[in-house]
């Protein structure tokens, strides 16, 4: 309302000025002004319409919640406008005279168009009508003032709405050229022409205060939440979001639209510190300057002006300020930690540590001697108890210095980190051997004793069918025994008084042929056996060269290995005795008639004295004898064929060599490490070898592994005479020794190359008597059963089951 009042007053005031000026261009101005004003009005109306529409649109767009804001803004803008406007009006007042009414009109019409609503038109028209009538009446009333003088009270002139200066006089302030700030503390800002106060227009604060006084809860929208049915109120955060949205800001809290840039590539350019330029020459030339200085120092040292090192000072006594701490002075139990070294715990003193121990703790003579004889490190006690009557008689501790020194050494050499000592029983690291009970069956007891030989039995063999046992001994006879009952079924005296060294059966069950070596001869014998079909076969095949007879029995012989490379078959006569140098005889039983490959056995029965004919291979089907070595290194001890390949092994005194028969080359040299090899045997798989030696060792060789033995077994007290693998698939091997015992071992070989052979000692078989330092001379296995037979120097053979 004050605004309205204000505007009225201004209109009233400004009335006078157009009156004074309208002489010049009233008409034109009026015409023009009307046109302009009309056009302005139209524009303004159109503008206002547009604005209204805009405002409505804004309303619709921004929703109902915006109304407050709108109101606030619309209020704010005039408030700000107001103050500036007033000043502008005042300025305009000053310039209006200069600029002319056009400018003032333009400025003022705008204000009036913007500020005054249409509601003011009707009173204006009334005022106009009144003005028309009032023109005739005096414009004042005459009253008396306080002094009684007439006072003219002028009626307030209502300016016509369309008058040119209706607005301009409203800004007329009569306070003159004084700063407006003088009125800051007053509600008015000056006085008009009538001396009335021009009230200060309402400011924003006042509107704010008014609006603030109207209590609208925060977030009030006037809407109803359809989900809850309660009035929908916005939270502070939502309002904040909305506010930000309206300001085209990112609604998210804490979002920084301008983060600091991370420079991935610095703008600095760095220069390579190293240079590829060649070193300057002066760096390689000895510096004369330095040499001069060095010479100076040297001279000074020589003359004694400079001492090269300071003599050590005695500092031991002079450091009372150095503090020493006892680490374990107040030792409290602490959790275990690597860096924590607890105080060593001393055991409580025992009785024998006393200076006056009870007599039972005093050592007697034997204990004293034992203590003094043991090494100082091996003593379980470091002291020997001594008896003293009184404490004053106890002498000084003689080892004090030594003990301190050792303690210092301990500290000096002690590792800083406590080492966790592994306390492992070394026995537990050994691989677990299966107990022998799990490895049954193996021979455990003697079941049959074969008696009959006079003198030692040197060799024995079980025939491939497993029913018969052939033995040969010092009495020059071959004997055939029924294995099951121990009955001798056949015997023959071979060659005079020469001992039978080796007997071996022909492999395979289709022929029943026994080979025996006696003296320098090899005899091939077909013992009588009631197997008519087999006999017929054998006779057909072997009849050509075995059709010999000797005495009444079908004894055949073949003799081989003359001197040099000669081989000679005996004519069909009685076994010939050959004269000459004693030689070792070999014989091979070859199952295939025409091929050399693979012969089943080569056997060697005497330690040779000749070198070239130490080993001979006899192909029986072709009557052919080959001497594979021109010169053999060392004394040949034994020879064996590989069970499946055309390879044969020759043992000399120290080594075992394997030769390929087909390619005629040396394959491998095994060095068992024994001093004197007595015998060896090849595992039926062909990859393992056992070696017995006269120096009491039994050695297991893995041919794939190494040339050194995989395992050395030293269980015998005397020389080992014979070793033998079980050939029928059982993982057993046995050795025979001069101490009259056999030992049975479990030797399991698996096909897996990653796994080593398992060797378990199983059983010691005793029973043979030792005669003239000779015990068991030979051992052989049953081809299928876990039985073994042994030939003893006492003239008996034994079957172990």
């Amino acid at each position: 309302m004050s605004q309205l009042n204000g505007s009225r007053k201004r209109k009233l005031v400004t009335r006078a000025i157009p009156d004074a000026q309208d002489d010049n261009d009233e008409l034109g101005d009026a015409l023009l002004g009307g046109i302009l004003s009309q056009s302005d009005d139209e524009e303004e109306l159109g503008d206002s319409d547009l604005e209204d529409e805009d405002g409505e649109e804004e309303d619709e767009e921004s929703g109902d919640g915006l109304d407050d804001e709108d109101e606030l803004e619309s209020d704010e803008i005039p408030s700000e406008y107001g103050e500036e406007d007033i000043r502008e009006q005042i300025r305009n007042l000053k310039t209006a005279d200069v600029d002319g009414p056009n400018g003032a009109n333009g400025g003022l019409t705008k204000v009036s168009g913007a500020e005054l609503p249409e509601t003011t038109t009707e009173p204006l028209e009334e005022a106009n009508t009144e003005d028309d009538t009032e023109d005739l009446k005096p414009n004042y009333r005459v009253t008396t003032d306080a002094n009684g003088n007439p006072r003219y009270l002028y009626r307030e002139i209502e300016p016509a709405y369309d008058s040119d200066d209706s607005d301009a006089p409203a800004t007329t302030n009569t306070i003159g050229d004084i700063p407006l700030s003088f009125y800051d503390s007053y509600p008015h800002i000056g006085y008009d022409i009538n001396g009335k106060k021009i009230m200060r227009p309402a400011k924003g604060e006042a509107l704010d205060a008014l609006l603030d006084s109207i209590e609208i809860p925060q977030g009030w929208t006037g809407l109803t939440d359809p989900t809850t049915g309660k009035p929908l109120e916005l939270s502070r955060e939502e309002l904040e979001v909305l506010k930000k949205l309206t300001r085209n800001e990112v609604p998210e809290e804490g979002y920084d639209p301008y983060p600091d840039m991370v420079e991935h590539f610095t703008s600095k350019t760095e220069i390579m510190p190293l240079s590829a330029a060649p070193e300057p020459k002066r760096r390689f030339v000895p510096s004369k300057h330095e040499a001069k200085r060095v010479m100076k120092i040297v001279r000074a040292i020589k003359e004694g002006r400079i001492k090269p090192y300071r003599p050590p000072e005695e500092t031991e006594d002079e450091d009372p300020e150095v503090k020493r701490y006892d680490l374990w002075a107040d030792e409290a139990p602490r959790p275990d930690h690597v860096m924590h070294v607890p105080a060593p715990k001393l055991p409580p003193p025992a009785h024998d540590e006393s200076y006056h121990p009870p007599p039972e703790y005093l050592p007697d003579k034997a204990e004293r001697a034992a203590w003094e004889n043991t090494d100082e490190e091996d003593r379980d006690k470091e002291y020997l108890s001594r008896d003293h009557d009184a404490l004053r008689k106890v002498p000084g501790y003689d080892k004090f210095v030594k003990e301190k020194f050792e303690r210092c050494l301990d500290l000096y050499l002690a590792p800083r980190v406590r080492r966790s000592k592994l306390n492992i029983d070394p026995e537990s690291l050994l691989p677990k051997l299966p107990s022998p009970d799990e490895l049954r069956p193996f021979p455990t007891a003697c079941s049959v004793v074969f008696r009959g030989h006079e003198g030692r039995v040197r060799s024995l063999a079980i025939d491939p069918s497993g029913e018969y046992l052939a033995t040969g001994g010092d009495d020059g006879t071959i004997r055939l025994w029924q294995l099951r009952t121990g009955r001798r079924t056949w015997s023959v005296k071979l060659a005079g008084d020469e001992a039978v060294n080796v007997v071996r059966w022909r492999p395979g069950t289709e022929a029943f042929v026994l080979a025996a070596a006696a003296g320098e001869n090899i005899f091939l014998v077909s013992p009588p056996r009631r197997k008519t079909r087999c006999r017929a076969k054998l006779s057909r095949r072997a009849g050509r060269w075995m059709g010999l007879r000797s005495h009444q029995r079908s004894l055949r012989n073949e003799r081989a290995s003359e001197e040099g490379s000669r081989c000679q078959m005996d004519p069909p006569r009685l076994p010939a005795r050959r004269k000459g140098r004693p030689h070792q005889n070999n014989r091979a039983l070859n199952r295939q008639s025409n091929q050399l490959a693979p012969p089943r056995r080569v056997l060697l029965n005497r330690i040779p004295q000749g070198q070239s004919s130490a080993i001979a291979i006899h192909t029986l089907s072709k009557h052919l004898t080959q001497l594979p070595f021109r010169r053999l290194k060392g004394l040949a001890q034994s020879a064996q064929f590989h069970p499946s390949k055309p390879i044969f092994f020759v043992a000399t005194q120290r080594t075992i060599r394997s030769y390929d028969l087909a390619r005629q080359e040396l394959l491998k040299i095994l060095q068992p490490g024994a001093k004197w090899i007595s015998s060896f045997d090849v595992h039926p798989g062909g990859d393992n070898l056992i070696v017995g030696s006269y120096d009491r060792r039994l050695l297991w060789h893995d041919l794939d592994l190494s040339t050194r033995p995989y395992k050395t077994l030293r269980y015998h007290k005397k020389a080992i005479r014979a070793v033998r693998f079980h050939q029928g698939g059982l993982p057993l091997f046995a050795d025979a020794s001069d101490d009259g015992s056999l030992q049975i071992f479990h030797g399991k070989v698996v096909g897996d190359l990653m796994e080593n052979a398992t060797i378990v000692p199983l059983k010691v078989l005793r029973g043979h008597q030792v005669k003239k330092e000779l015990g068991v001379l030979d051992v052989d296995w049953h081809p299928r059963q876990p039985w073994c037979v042994s030939a003893g120097a006492d003239g008996t053979c034994r079957l172990w089951q």
Partner: protein, 467 residues
Amino acid sequence: MSNPASAGDQAKVRIQLTTRHADLGLPQDTGPLLVSTSLRRIQLSSLVNNILSTPRPVPFEFLINGQFLRTSIDDFLTKNGISAETTLTVEYVRALIPPTYVASFEHDDWVSSVDVLSASSAAAGWANADIPAGQEKILSASFDGYLHMWDTSGQLVATSSPTSHGQHPIQSAKFLSPTKLVSAGDDCCVRIWNYSSPTSTDNPSAPASITPSLELYGHHGAINTISVHAPTSRILSASSDHTLGLWSTQKSSAPAAPSDLLPENSPSLTSSNKRRKISQPSPTPPRRGPLSLLTGHTQQVSSAVFAPTDSSVAYSASWDHSLKTWDLPTGTCVDTRTTAHPLYSLLALSGITLLAAGTSARHITLIDPRTSARSIAALTLRGHSNAVVALAQEPGSWYGLVSGSYDGSCRVWDIRSVRPGGAEIGGGQVGESVYRIGRESLRGKREPVGGRGLGCLGLRGIGRSGF
């Protein structure tokens, strides 16, 4: 303590008597008896005789918990930790009188096999022959290739005539009937002999003779054991060529002999046979072949027996650890039982469906051959110290057993006397021998004679005499 009689009067125990003898059952169900613990076997035996009121006193043995009562009941209870307040189940069995040495039958060579013709023997039963007491015959086979017939007084009655191909060790000999014998040995041939006893012929003064009547060829290896069944005239042989032979004892029903196995056709022996033929004019007996050869074993067959109840079923034991059941008409292997050790001897116990097999591991295994049996070894009899090579059953008893071993002893077993075996021998049940019969003389042949004075225990044993 001071007075044992009064102590015995005070201590009493309740016993429940049972038996498995059908003819000696208790007259009515006598409840538990209250007897003094000081009683021994003799008092208990007289007590049972009193209850049974037998006309002649029968000696009894008493089994308590599978153990024979050898001491007083008191000691037995103390030893086994049994409370005297429990009721003891006491089984009484006919006492086995310990065998006594009667006679020695001297041979020139090792004796391989023995058979007895007596009233209780199978051969006499098949022939319905009545063998009076004192007329029993003993047949022995020797390694020298001859059969010998003895009477009970130790007199040599007859010796077999030499065969046409030399003498080979005989491994087994049996009575087929009182006048027919069967033998087999290392010459791969089963021979049937006629035995003409002097009493059976019209000329009493003529000496008894054993002459070959039939030779059966077919095996390639030595024959270890033969077994006969006279009603069906079948012979079963176990050979070391891994086969069993089934033969007929009748010439007419047997097929012809395979010609390549006959000794004349063997080329390696022709030279020696010529001379022998000249020196031996005796005609060769007819030759026949096998009805069938049963193959299946992988090693030599040590023993083969007919089933006691069904002659079409045979059992065989072999060194390959297996015991096979054969159906003879079809010649097929019905069942295979694999044990842990090579089997050396076999005996089918009549009356109970068990087979006793002697092993090379020094014990006797009782095997249930029925296919429904769960465990292979029903009972293990331990005690021998060497391989068990001969087994025989006590005549008239289902539970008596005699075994001969290479350790030079025979043992008499009662398989009712069992105790559970400990863990160290692998569980099962273990029996103990009742008697051990040592060799009577080092050079004598063993002939254990036992029983009730009438029957002899037939035992085929291998005696190793030193001749």
